[in-house]
């Protein structure tokens, strides 16, 4: 398969998978596309980091979380909606489901070293995810004057 088809397929599947999770969270219909894009942006950056730059999963997750959370905040401002709506489903492709699985798998196989390394890696990915969200969510709003509703001062 040519390389661009591979990434295009990944992009489309990531959009669809993220929207699917959004549906289970009862996301309003008008946000489907924005939310799918948020998830796909995160996944594409992650897969580029891992496949093209050979970064470790934890670092790749950290790098991917930054544009992902940025996207979520951008859409939150544009759609005047809470940032959670885009962040909760959008983050799912990066949650270390595979890490949890392989940790359990190697535990059972009695492969102590692989078990320890997978477990450590899963933990690191979770930390990277947390750190990435923390970094972007803590930034003050980029555009003064357009007030995101989380940061609106309470009316006096």
């Amino acid at each position: 398969m040519p390389i661009w088809t591979h990434y295009f397929a990944h992009f489309m599947v990531a959009v669809i998978a993220t929207i699917s999770f959004g549906i289970t969270f009862q996301m309003p219909r008008r946000h489907y596309l924005a939310c799918g894009l948020t998830g796909a942006v995160g996944w594409m950056v992650y897969i580029f980091c891992v496949e093209l730059f050979a970064l470790s999963p934890a670092i790749a997750t950290l790098v991917a979380t930054l544009p992902l959370t940025g996207c979520a905040r951008f859409f939150a401002i544009r759609h005047k909606a809470p940032v959670t709506i885009f962040l909760l489903p959008g983050i799912f492709p990066l949650v270390p489901g595979a890490g949890i699985y392989y940790t359990a798998y190697y535990f059972l196989q009695g492969e102590q070293e692989l078990f320890a390394s997978k477990g450590g890696e899963t933990f690191k990915v979770a930390l990277a995810l947390a750190l990435g969200i923390a970094l972007v969510c803590s930034l003050p709003l980029p555009l003064p004057g357009r007030v995101d509703d989380e940061h609106r001062p309470p009316p006096s």
């Binding site: 397929a9 990944h10 599947v13 990531a14 669809i16 998978a17 699917s20 999770f21 959004g22 549906i23 289970t24 969270f25 009862q26 996301m27 309003p28 946000h31 996944w43 005047k80 909606a81 809470p82 959670t84 709506i85 962040l87 909760l88 983050i91 799912f92 492709p93 949650v95 270390p96 489901g97 595979a98 949890i100 699985y101 392989y102 940790t103 359990a104 798998y105 535990f107 059972l108 899963t122 979770a126 995810l129 947390a130 969200i133 923390a134 969510c137 803590s138 509703d149 989380e150 609106r152 309470p154 009316p155 006096s156």
Partner: protein, 257 residues
């Protein structure tokens, strides 16, 4: 403000906070929204403390004793539509476009926003599982296997939730069913890669919500609520791992893996 109206305004604020918490709003959002609404409705001396599963508030009306209210929010089932609706409501209240009575009606609408049908939710799990199986290195052959595993997990989750069975046990059983199914298919059709299929299906169960919200709670200084959520994430991850291990043990016991 007349006493009756004051009471209704307080109830409204508490209900709004409870709706946010119940449907997956963050702790600081519930707290902030309640404060904004109370200020907009003219409730003075309003103090509120929100936890992951409870709301404590007090208010004071001149010439009357202080009122205190407590709400317990034991279960959360994420409904982002309702979170958005309450958010919108507080925005309009703050802008002064609504009175207590209209706001009550709006909140009622928000609280009764329908959930999508169980069939659609199951379909979403199926599609999600298949999609993630592909993203995590599965082939086209692995996708239908993951889809069926996702279907099993969604069914287990829905049935168990209906009978009020706790989340930990539900996750263990769901992960177990998905694992066993994928291993069974791999045994019959060796071309299928059970690992990719299982991972895709497990994504349905992963604690992404608890992790994200825990981080955000801690960032906002709600350390207690954040810890509760992160502990929740850890427990869910542990349950999933437990289910996977049980599945493989059983498969081995039957001599297929």
């Amino acid at each position: 403000m007349a006493d009756a109206l004051f009471d209704r305004a307080l109830e409204l604020v508490m209900d709004a906070g409870q709706t946010l918490l119940e449907n997956g709003g963050e702790v600081f959002r519930a707290q902030q929204t309640m404060e904004i609404m109370a200020a907009s409705l003219g409730v003075r001396d309003f103090h509120v403390y929100v936890l992951t599963n409870g709301i404590f508030a007090s208010a004071h009306l001149p010439g009357r004793d202080a009122v205190s209210l407590v709400r317990h929010v034991p279960t959360v089932s994420v409904h982002l539509g309702r979170v958005e609706a309450v958010n919108e409501l507080s925005r309009e209240l703050a802008a002064g476009r609504l009175g207590v009575v209209e706001a009550e009606a709006r909140l009622n609408t928000a609280r009764t926003l329908p959930r999508s049908t169980p069939q659609l939710e199951i379909l979403a799990c199926v599609v999600g599982a298949a999609g993630f199986a592909y993203l995590f290195g599965g082939t086209l052959a692995d996708m239908p296997v993951a889809a069926v595993a996702g279907l099993l997990e969604a069914l287990v989750c829905q049935q168990f939730a209906r009978h009020g069975i706790n989340r930990i046990f539900t996750d263990i059983v769901a992960a177990f069913c998905g694992t066993i199914w994928a291993i069974a298919v791999q045994t019959v059709v060796p071309a299928v890669n059970a690992n990719a299929a299982i991972i895709g299906a497990l994504m349905v169960l992963t604690p992404g919500v608890a992790l994200t919200m825990g981080v955000r709670d801690i960032l906002n200084g709600d350390y207690l609520s954040g810890s509760i959520r992160l502990l929740d994430a850890l427990l869910i991850a542990g349950s999933i791992a437990g289910g996977v291990v049980l599945g493989w043990i059983m498969a081995r016991g039957l001599g297929v893996a």
